[in-house]
Point group: C2
Chain length 115, copies 2
Amino acid sequence: MKIQHFEESEVRRVKAKGVRGVVKRVLIGASDGAPNFTMRLFHVDPGGYTFHHSHDFEHEIFIIEGKGEVVTTQGIRQIKKNYVLYIPPGEEHQLRNTGKSRLSFLCLVPNENEL
Amino acid sequence: MKIQHFEESEVRRVKAKGVRGVVKRVLIGASDGAPNFTMRLFHVDPGGYTFHHSHDFEHEIFIIEGKGEVVTTQGIRQIKKNYVLYIPPGEEHQLRNTGKSRLSFLCLVPNENEL
């Protein structure tokens, strides 16, 4: 059994065009022996944002701190701590930190989609 | 896209021998169209505990509030907010709330193991 604070997981900056102020931790994944899905934690700086994109796999997201907005195909929706997001395969999305403190969220994907 | 506060998900008491003071919410699952895994949220009252058991599927857990302990095959370990637990298939476990406030945690499982 793996038991640790999330800060014990290595943090890596997401360096890519279309992303600003985002770092990531893989909390549970294939390297722990997890057979199916991967739990990642993203931290987004104030003013930062994730990719605006879509892909053929789902996201299951839980916001653990901060606030922001989600760009959806139906417009912009507000999110904050304790919000849950299910993003189906193929649906465009982007998360943005519109607050003054860090926005942090869990984002789980099938193992094969954690790169 | 589903976007909501966790409190918008229905809460159900877990009524079973070997469980005390536990309620559950299914935040994301097959009924939302999620193809692979289910995000559940459990709340455990002070003094409450989950099953002490094992099963052939994994748990991916994130503690969102409170504190407690986990019974493992190697003894008891302390847990609190922001801790991550990976429980492999087949490994015995139990979560107990040893604090004075609610212990809440996300626990994700493959869809077919959400009953």
